[in-house]
Amino acid sequence: MHELLVIGPPLLAIAAAIAGFAQPGRLARHTVGAIEALVLAGLVAAALAAVDLALHGPLLDTLVLHDAVSATMLLLVAFVGWVVVRFARTYLDGEARQGLFMAWLCATLGCVMLLVVAGHLLLFILAWIGTSLGLTRLLLFYAERPAARRAARKKFLVARAADLALLAATGLLVAAYRTADIAAINSAARAGEGGGLAVAGAALLALAALLKSAQFPTHGWLTEVMEAPTPVSALLHAGVINAGGYLLIRFADVMLLSPAALAGLVMVGGFTALFGGMVMLTQPAIKTSLAWSTIAQMGFMIMQCGLALFPLALLHIVAHSLYKAHAFLSSGGAVERIALFRRPGGVAIPGPRAVGRAFLVALLIYALIGAAVGFLGQSPQALALGAILIFGIAYLVAQGLAEAAPLALTRRLVTLSALASLGYFALHVAVTWITAGSLPPAPPPGPLEWVLLSVAVLSFGLVAVAQAMLPLWAGHPAAAAIRVHLSNGLYVNTLTDRLIGGWAIGNAQPTSRRVRS
């Protein structure tokens, strides 16, 4: 029964996909209804499986692994998947290849769900590759669009590199542990077994995760896949993109064997987080801005993995997926939102003194909550991360403390800041408790880790200060040049296009399609 509930969601999604493939054109009303019903049934099964887990403990099958981590991910993907499929059901109405779209959407969704419950390396690899192939079909839904082909080509190259890295990594792990059972590999790794093969495997896992998570400098394709219908973006940014992070969390015990790989994750993830976050600031198009936001958020999550804060990375994946799915699906409201924000007049810009006070207030909030939650039990990594998040909160406080802000606004924003801080510390505690049996705690930091922690806290702090004071220095001529380079993502995409001939005619011949009837 437990197995059936766990394997049910992916199988139901694949059944929905088959219904779509059977009717690749415009779908009959009852067929789209059936497709959504199948996916919804998958969500129900995922929820029941989670209840079953809470009652009877984890399931460690040859094929399937269902613990707190898998259950969280399965529930998340099944939920977001249902919302996206339900959205697409109406949104794609009238499209000539509606059935094909729903089919690939459900097939991709099924593969992601299979990935998160896979207990066997082979199944894991198949689901991993299947997800990527399904996504490519979705990205090329309007294959006549040159920009869609350009993006899909870049994505294809990066994804195949990620596949190779994963294949090599799993090969090394099988060689090291003489088993393809993921739970068994993890428990052996936790016992310190595996040796050099496992360490090399961990490094390759890290590489695969970086490639899969659109980390610098292989992030380019993610900023260009708005060439597919909105539900694809929602599924990609809320489901598929998490594969890399999930890989790291799933093999957390193995990853801990290689401090060097973890350090690499911190460096690449941390840089990508700051880089993506700054590029995002310059983007005037909503979906493009959201895409850069995803790159940054994935960077942050990868950094959390690198700091061995796997439960927090899992929390980040869940929180980010829910937010980003909603942000993409509701991006049509941007016109009204921006019009609304123009109505109450100009934004009160905080001056340097206000920014200074805001950071003090934020640190005070941190101290108070820390005292309440208990600083002492926390690892230095968790404390550093808390500090980084508090720098973010300071921006909210700063807006309230701006000299021109009325007192009522100040009160509301400071309260909101305190609530937000309380919110994530509560979530941190909750997720750590839920995953206590499945995920290893962060080991005590060594010298390398201390350096990384300090650099991370310092650089995020600097960017946070610069961000809070942005309107004060953005007008400077030197800032204009920086802005141009950042708004172009430091030309990484341009260079990639040049390397792969992205702008060549034939690859990018504009086809004027005049479909009229």
Partner: protein
Amino acid sequence: MTIDITKIAEASAAAAAAIPPAWPLAATVAVNPWLGQTGEPLAMVAARMARAAGVAVTMERSWYAARIASGVITDDDLAAALAAAPSMPSGWRPENVAALKAAALTPSPAPRALPTVAELAAEATGVDWPSIIAERFGHFAAGWFDEGQALWAAPRGRSALAAWRAVATHDLTPELLGLGGFSARVAEAPDAASPLLAQAVAQLGLTPAAMTSVFHRALSTLGGWAQAARYRQWQAQLVGSDDGTITDFLAIRLLWEVALLDQLRPLVGTAWEATVAAHAVPLTPTPAQCIDAILQEAAERAGQRSLAARLAVDAPPAAEAPALQMAFCIDVRSEVFRRSLEAIDPRIQTLGFAGFFGLTAAHRRLGSDVAEHRLPVLLNPGFTSTAGNPEDVPANTARRLEVRVVRAWARFKLAAVSSFAFVEAAGPTYGLKLLRDALGIGGASPDQDPAPRPDPALDLPGRVRMTASILRAMSLTRGFAPLVMLAGHGANVVNNPHASALHCGACGGYTGDVNARLLATLLNDPQVRAGLSAEGIAVPETTLFLAALHDTTTDAVRLFDADAAGPAHHNQIARARQWLDAAGAIARSERAIRLPRATGGAQLVRRSTDWAETRPEWGLAGCQAFIAAPRARTAGRNLAGRAFLHDYVWRDDEGFGVLELILTAPVVVASWISLQYYGSCVAPELFGGGNKLLHNVVGGFGVVEGNGGALRTGLPWQSVHDGAGLAHEPLRLTVCVEAPIEAMTTILWRHPAVAALFDNRWLHLIALDDSGRMAWRYAGQSEWVPMESADAATPLAA
């Protein structure tokens, strides 16, 4: 050869005038895509648009052929269209109807624009320069027009050109993609458009005869960006000023051409010289373009025949003493609702008038500093208004605070480091939002603003003058019912970037409630009533004016009865509510038939809160006719939501001042709407808003498809097409007016720009006789001919 700088300025002004303005999506209105070409007939514009943009201005031949085959277009229609075809400079036309029918079966050659240097370069080098330029220009323009998406906004600069130079001197992309020295070239370029254009003209070897055409071609490659720039110029010219954005854009685009030509002259130089020569050749429509125009005219005549048949039906006489009068916007969506409402009780009378109700208000909402122009975009605001009285100040402050908190939270969400804190603190709550929106719970909450008032207040003579002229323009000067409702309209949709396109065009793309509430308050004022009485308009003391808002998505009507509270009318209002509810149900059932997936009237209400719905309503799709006549001529006839209905009683119109107003204002607005739908159907690649599934809202003011490139203006494909076929029949509007033809001739003679619309058939003008039947057709150049179908046309005696 050097060309006089004023000649260049004239050519660039002419090219700019050929581009239609595009309003930002926050409050967008329909625009005639050929606003700059109304002085030319369709075949000529076909030739012009083919050369400048490579788009057609008529449907594909198969569309006409299918209509001929099915009998929708008859031989008589074809013969009439052929006979009426304007003589072309080429002097060519098909010999007879048989030749025309044969031509309809052969596809028209696809229009091909003359190539740009970028296109020649692409052909020669295999690098897609046109797309690279489109991408780069879009990247710049999106930032430059941004109204608040990017937290780190692009500097606006002194001008568009200055802002672009500040970007392009740093941008490494062109160099990386193979256009060496581009940023250095930009740095050395003059920083004003005029010398830059002069340089470009010289370097591109443009001749005076070729200039305007080359410029038009260049601006067309910018798609909606040029139209957004033209909007700035339009707004500036409306207040007697000017704006150079579109000239700057032209100069920027030509700088790219010059750079490519300089780099690739050996490869493309000769071809470019030939292109310039081709631009200098005077335009002549091809025989195929003439045939297309004649077929289009025949389709329109077929439409007029079916409209004539509908109008010829005898209808029940109007009630003597109405219990309820309700004025609606002329918008075609009102027709369905008015017919449904009138069917419920003979004591209900409806009227049609432009939905801004003659009030040109620049309005500030509660808690807002933004003055919204709730008036037709052809006009300047006449006064300012505010929501609420001095006693509403606390509510005003509270609303501001509420929005500022939300805004601060949104900035927190989008800022570089704080976005991580936001996700970890608040991300999980989005699970609930996903659930809520997936189930369509909630939706947009209706605007709860207090009643608007003119601010500063208008003096009494001014208010009387204003209301008297509005009532006269509405042909509502006597026979007032005890309850007179003034219904503005607005759509009710969520997650839709094009929501404002579904609102009231006469109110500048906003909902019509503010104007209706302002007018109702004015008309309920006893002082104004006394003044009106002195003007000869006696409004009974017992008459109450009540503002309403017709929700065109759900056909629900909201009454603003709190604005004019009084126990005296309680029962009448309660009864009106029942009538409106019943009418809404009828109207919804009728509309549900046309909407895909709608299972019935009730489902229409659910669509309005569905965030995935791309077709919540059809807007004005289907619009075909504009009828200015007493309601008795159209009441009881099913016009299928395809006619703008304007009440007009010519016998009450001394001096034909109201007629002049109708022909020069609402008719022109209706032509913009009709031609926008037409353009979005026949040339969706340039004048359509693209695929909704790919829309990426840019800067809060527009959409691009996918990653970027050209701004997309006009109606999205989903707004004119249901997946199986067009939901809008692309016919140019037929204007039917019950008025003496001499009076119309005189008015057209006084307004050459309006006359051009009719002379060149962007609009058809038909005079109705005293029984509301089509009697006379305007044949252009002040000529009228009797309608083909009319038995014996007798002109109305003035």
